[in-house]
Amino acid sequence: MIYNSGKIYTGLIIFVLFITFPIWYNHLDAGTLPDPQKVENAKECVAPVAEMKATHMQLLNQWRDDVLRDGDRAFNVEADGKMYQKSLQKTCMKCHTSKKKFCDTCHEYASVTPYCWDCHVAPVEPAAKGDMN
């Protein structure tokens, strides 16, 4: 037996309820899962979709360092044997033509704010022209 068990168990229950607040407050519902824009003008990405979903941020950082610091700009996609430039603006966003419908859907859901677009220019959104950001 432990001393003051009543107080301890009550405290523990309050603590667990408190740290799980975001879960039960949202009724065990994670909200609508994001559905990023599907690509129509290309069959393959530079890497398998699952890999891109999980590690695109590492890939972009790798590309950034390769291009800028090592001057290694070409990227070879195995499947169609074509050389693409390692470039967010010139390669990624040519297929994923909408930042709002592609990048932002997941980033807003996951509440992450990558600083890519502080400098890099997003493609012009077809719906709302003039708003580049």
């Binding site: 950034r64 800028l68 610091r69 090592d70 001057g71 700009r73 603006q89 010139k90 600083y115 502080d118 400098c119 890099h120 220019v121 493609p123 012009v124 580049m132 950001n133």
Partner: protein, 286 residues
């Protein structure tokens, strides 16, 4: 053992002498040099051994003695051509600034961003005599940009390696790493660097070149010799704008058969502030 002050002082004195003398002897044994040379290299001791390819204050003559390997991009600017065609300079500046989304500011604005610009002869070449200037020199401006020095002081000053010399001899800016300390601006003797005091996105809402990024507030920017265009086999934007006029020649300074080396061989050229020992890669035919 008997310890007294006299013995203690003897031992301390001998230890001090040994401590001071040993490094000098070791240094001499390792380098195999004479006394004078050991002390002469002392000035560069901070980088001794760490950067064997760098030159330390040996001056211009040293670097031209032997042909170097690797690429070192450089430029020759023929001021005679620019004097003959005054609009050409502005055209080159515009081409560059449009290509790189450099916003326009009124002349002399403290927020001004400059990658390449026109300046008076006395500002471009302050080490040269300005007494009794000829008409061409007095009336015309000189096109100046980052000199992509062989020995760039900005690279030494940068605490984050945001500015660095790439494998082609181009002094690059990595905007991702820049913390905006502006040490590089203080270090650059040519004023080739500009600081983004304002948010470029608000000044330039629609980029002039949607394929090139803008910058963000709080980073330093400058000419990058169009490293992205060079990778695609194109010439820098300013050189392309100058066209076939021969006013700007771009090429590899380390390749003895390149066009730029041919031009350098046939013409008398000057560099900006050569006495600083930065070895600019931009040469001027005056």
């Amino acid at each position: 053992m008997d310890k007294n002050r006299r013995n203690f002082l003897k031992v301390a004195g001998i230890s001090t002498l040994a401590g001071l003398g040993a490094p000098a002897i070791v240094d001499r044994v390792i380098s195999g040099k004479g006394e004078g040379e050991v002390f002469a290299s002392g000035g560069a001791a901070g980088h001794h051994g760490a950067e064997p390819t760098e030159h330390h204050g040996e001056g211009n003559t040293e670097s031209h003695k032997e042909e170097k390997t690797g690429t070192r991009y450089g430029m020759v600017i023929d001021t005679r051509q620019f004097n003959a065609n005054p609009k050409l300079g502005v055209k080159c500046v515009d081409a560059c600034h449009k290509m790189h989304n450099v916003p326009e500011f009124p002349k002399g604005d403290k927020n001004e961003i400059k990658w390449i610009w026109l300046t008076n002869h006395e500002n471009a070449f302050p080490e040269h005599s300005q007494q009794f200037k000829d008409k061409d020199t007095a009336d015309n401006k000189v096109l100046v940009t980052c000199n992509h020095c062989e020995n760039p002081p900005c690279v030494r000053a940068c605490p984050t390696k945001a500015t660095f010399k790439n494998k082609d001899g181009i002094v690059m800016m990595d905007f991702h790493r820049c913390i905006g300390c502006r040490f590089c601006m203080a270090a650059c003797p040519y004023g080739a660097r500009s600081f983004n005091w304002l948010e470029p996105k608000t000044i330039l809402p629609t980029p002039t070149n949607p394929d090139y990024p803008r910058r963000m507030r709080g980073v330093v920017e400058k000419c990058n010799f169009c490293a992205d265009r060079l990778a695609l086999g194109e010439k820098p934007a300013c050189v392309a704008a100058a066209g076939h006029s021969g006013a700007m020649i771009f090429g590899d300074l380390n390749d003895p058969n390149s066009e730029i080396r041919k031009v350098l061989k046939e013409n008398f050229t000057i560099q900006r502030k050569p006495s600083l020992g930065t070895n600019p890669s931009v040469f001027y035919i005056v």
